[in-house]
Amino acid sequence: MKAKHQRLSLAVLALAALIGAGLLAASALRDQAAYFYSPADLQRTAVAPGKQIRLGGMVADGSIERAADGVTISFLVTDGPAQTRVRFRGIPPDLFKENSGVVAEGAFAPDGVFVADTILAKHDERYMPPELAKTEAGPKHRTETLAR
């Protein structure tokens, strides 16, 4: 290889690798990015069953129901007026409780219930998912924390 051209060809290779990575990333992103919804968002726009999304809000008061198998729970996520039913099979995080913030990751089943694969709850009094802080449920909880 000519001396002059080696650096150039290396630069071209690097560029090609980066563009390739970018394209790979872009196509994967289009398929895989999960959008964040509140129950109110879901009322306005329907989400196709099977599409991965995140659902955030408060666990509605008195809405947690336990199934007979002892490991499946179902509850309502609310952000004020709107509500969405969520089903989850597993051990919910330690801070998961009624009137507390929650983010559920999963997809809608054909029967219209949101089936969560993962549930994230507030980890401690200083930690709150930023998504939650911005929903209507957030500020109320913030004040609670401050008043403590």
């Binding site: 690097a14 980066l18 895989q32 990015a33 597993g90 330690d94 930690y127």
Partner: protein, 641 residues
């Protein structure tokens, strides 16, 4: 008084950093070289002062001095001593002080030990190091003062997040920070070399130990963090593609690329501009990681609710340093002469491939980590990018990289022939083929990534040992051993990841005391659930008796813990390690009918993941010691000649 002394030490250290920057810069102008005489001593003094301030903060935490705001907000007098001390860096201000301390100490070490490069370049390097330090001193002093007083003093502290009350806290953040900051030295060297126009093999040899050391620390920090998350969070996962994990992975990827390119530069004097660029990128990734973790813009256990001012401050520092370095690069790169030439099929060629693929993975992780932030800033859409994206995009590239890793070390420098390389690779290729067939028959229906991962891991493990074949093992240089062991570690970790992903068995049940559940090869019986108490927590502890076939019964005791300050519940998993995997158990809540939720996993060969991580770091250490010893011998020879 102690808090005030710490604050004074910080101010003084900041002033010294300013002096170091100014004198270092002045000494580079023609005829003012004598100004640089103070640079080395000032760098040492600055490092000592920062260390002093940090020790004082540890002292305050140790004494539980509740008149200091930071201690009152994060500590508790009833906490075990280890966590009082480790709690020093388990919060925003303390961890930033640790950052600055390591930065200062690294500058001091360069000032004391570095004798290979020209004095001009050394001063430029230390000036760059001081410039970085100055920004972070300003950050500490103006927006995150760790020594702020609380009047009146709090009667009791608020305690430390229970998830952080674990030996992992004593180890994980400091090692990661050592890695982040070690890369700052590489960055400073690169800036110094650009300023003095001395980008050459000597520069690479001076920078290499720092890159290696930083890389070892990052490897250890990531491995430890992964295991910590694995057993502490009770989710049974070892990598979540959480943005904060990515924040530590990105510097590691850049450092791995840099480690390889700096070797090309030191050995063959090629890839000059590229290596300088990578040094800038690597430290940018460290800064970005710090920004992501410390600005509180991410959803993560690591992200505490922090006021936006701090995020903006770090972002400004990030823009300043990266922008400055890139501008310098753009201005000076034309003065960097092209290095030695090489053919496409050669060791250099393989290392270029390594660098390109690592950069591609870095790009993919970067896009996936920052895309949600960018999307929200631009369109207000909230979205998250999770494991499906990262697996699909980064997985295939990583597998190609691993395959290349087996071939690279068997190639000759400068030029080689594809046919001879393939002949040297015959045994690993045959083994890969055999593994492919065996797995396709024995474990049909595996998903594609773990399948290819496991097949490759077997071939690459053999390939990574190939450089030792036909050599006198005693006379093989230590850094060759280091490379072989690190590459073997990658294969081992890959095998662990593939096995865990493909063969994990999970059981989720609600059982009464006395009932059993089956997971993988184990039958697990819930014998009892009893309350227990620790120094600052109470818990419900299950006694599980697990039996594998006719083997002996083993007892596991997972707990559901309650912490009074701050009021929190955590679950402590119980893990049984066998030679071929781990039994992982978590205790859940009790339902109305008196049944206990149990979550059980059988994870075959999962331990290989962290064993591999350890091997990678060990290889790095051998390499580092080998390089330093050889250089010392070489210098002695010159000195006595």
């Amino acid at each position: 008084m102690i808090a005030e002394a710490g604050l004074a030490a910080l101010w003084l250290a900041a002033a010294l950093a300013l002096l170091q920057l100014v004198m270092g810069a002045v000494s580079l102008t023609p005829g003012r070289a004598e100004a640089g005489l103070v640079v080395r001593p000032v760098a040492v003094a600055q490092g000592l002062l920062a260390l002093f301030a940090f020790v004082l903060l540890i002292w305050l935490f140790w004494m539980s001095d509740m008149s200091v705001k930071l201690v009152a907000a994060n500590s508790h007098s009833a906490k075990p001593l280890l966590y009082k001390i480790a709690g020093t860096w388990g919060n925003h201000e303390g961890s930033m002080l640790l950052w600055v301390t390591i930065l200062g100490a690294a500058g001091a070490l360069v000032a004391i030990f570095e004798r290979r490069i020209s004095e001009r370049m050394l001063r430029a390097t230390l000036a760059a190091q001081a410039a970085i330090g100055l920004g972070f001193y300003a950050f500490l002093l103006f927006s995150s003062n760790p020594f702020e007083r609380l009047a009146p003093a709090a009667p009791e502290g608020q305690g430390l997040n229970p998830l952080l009350q674990d030996p992992g806290l004593a180890f994980h953040p400091p090692t990661l920070y050592l890695g982040y900051v070690g890369l700052s030295v590489a960055f400073s060297f690169a800036v110094g070399a650009l300023v003095t126009r001395e980008v050459d093999a000597t520069f690479a040899r001076a920078m290499r130990p720092w890159v290696l050391a930083a890389w070892i620390m990052l490897t250890l920090g990531i491995t430890a963090g992964s295991y910590w998350a694995y057993y502490e969070l009770g989710w049974g996962g070892w990598w979540f593609w959480d943005p904060v994990e990515n924040a530590s992975l990105m510097p590691w990827l850049a450092a791995t690329a840099l480690l390889h390119s700096v070797t090309v530069l030191a050995t063959r004097d090629s890839l000059r501009a590229w290596t300088v660029m990578l040094a800038v990128v690597a430290f940018s990734m460290s800064m970005l990681g710090t920004f992501l973790v410390r600005s509180g813009i991410l959803t993560s256990v690591h992200a505490f609710a922090v006021d936006p001012e701090r995020g903006s401050f770090i972002l400004a520092l990030l823009a300043l340093y990266i922008g400055g370095a890139l501008a310098l690069f753009a201005v000076r790169i034309s003065t960097v002469k092209e290095g030695a030439q090489f053919e496409a099929v050669s060791r250099e060629g393989a290392l270029v491939g390594n660098n390109l693929l690592l950069t591609a993975i870095l790009g993919i992780v970067f896009v996936g980590t920052l895309y949600p932030l960018a999307a929200e800033a631009v369109s207000g859409e909230k979205l998250s990018v999770g494991p499906p994206y990262f697996d699909a995009a980064a997985g295939p590239v990583a597998l190609v990289l691993v395959a290349l890793m087996a071939a690279g070390p068997l190639m000759r420098w400068r030029r080689d022939h594809a046919a001879t390389v393939i002949r040297r690779l015959a045994v690993p290729i045959l083994l890969t083929g055999a593994a492919l067939l065996a797995l396709a028959i024995l474990a049909p229906g595996m998903s594609i990534l773990p399948f290819l991962g496991l097949v490759l891991a077997i071939g690459v493990a053999a390939g990574s040992l190939a450089p030792l074949w036909g050599r006198n093992l005693r006379r093989t240089p230590m850094f060759t051993w280091g490379m072989v062991i690190s590459h073997l570690g990658i294969a081992v970790a890959l095998a662990g990841m593939a096995c865990e992903t493909a063969f994990t068995k999970e059981t989720l049940v609600a059982v009464r005391v006395g009932e059993t559940a089956t997971v993988g090869p184990y039958v697990v019986r819930l014998q009892d659930v009893e309350p227990v108490a620790g120094p600052n927590w109470t818990a419900l502890e299950a006694t599980l008796v697990a039996r594998r076939g006719d083997g002996p019964a083993v007892t596991l005791r997972p707990q559901a813990r309650s912490w009074p300050s701050p009021p929190t519940q955590t679950s402590e998993s119980a893990i049984r390690t066998a030679f071929d995997g781990q039994l992982y158990t978590v205790l859940g809540a009790q339902d109305e009918q008196g049944r206990w939720q149990l979550r059980l996993w059988w994870k075959p060969f999962v331990t290989l993941i962290w064993l591999g991580g350890g091997l990678i770091a060990l290889g790095g250490l051998l390499s580092l010691v080998g390089r330093v010893r050889r250089e010392r011998r070489y210098h002695d020879r010159i000195a006595y000649a």
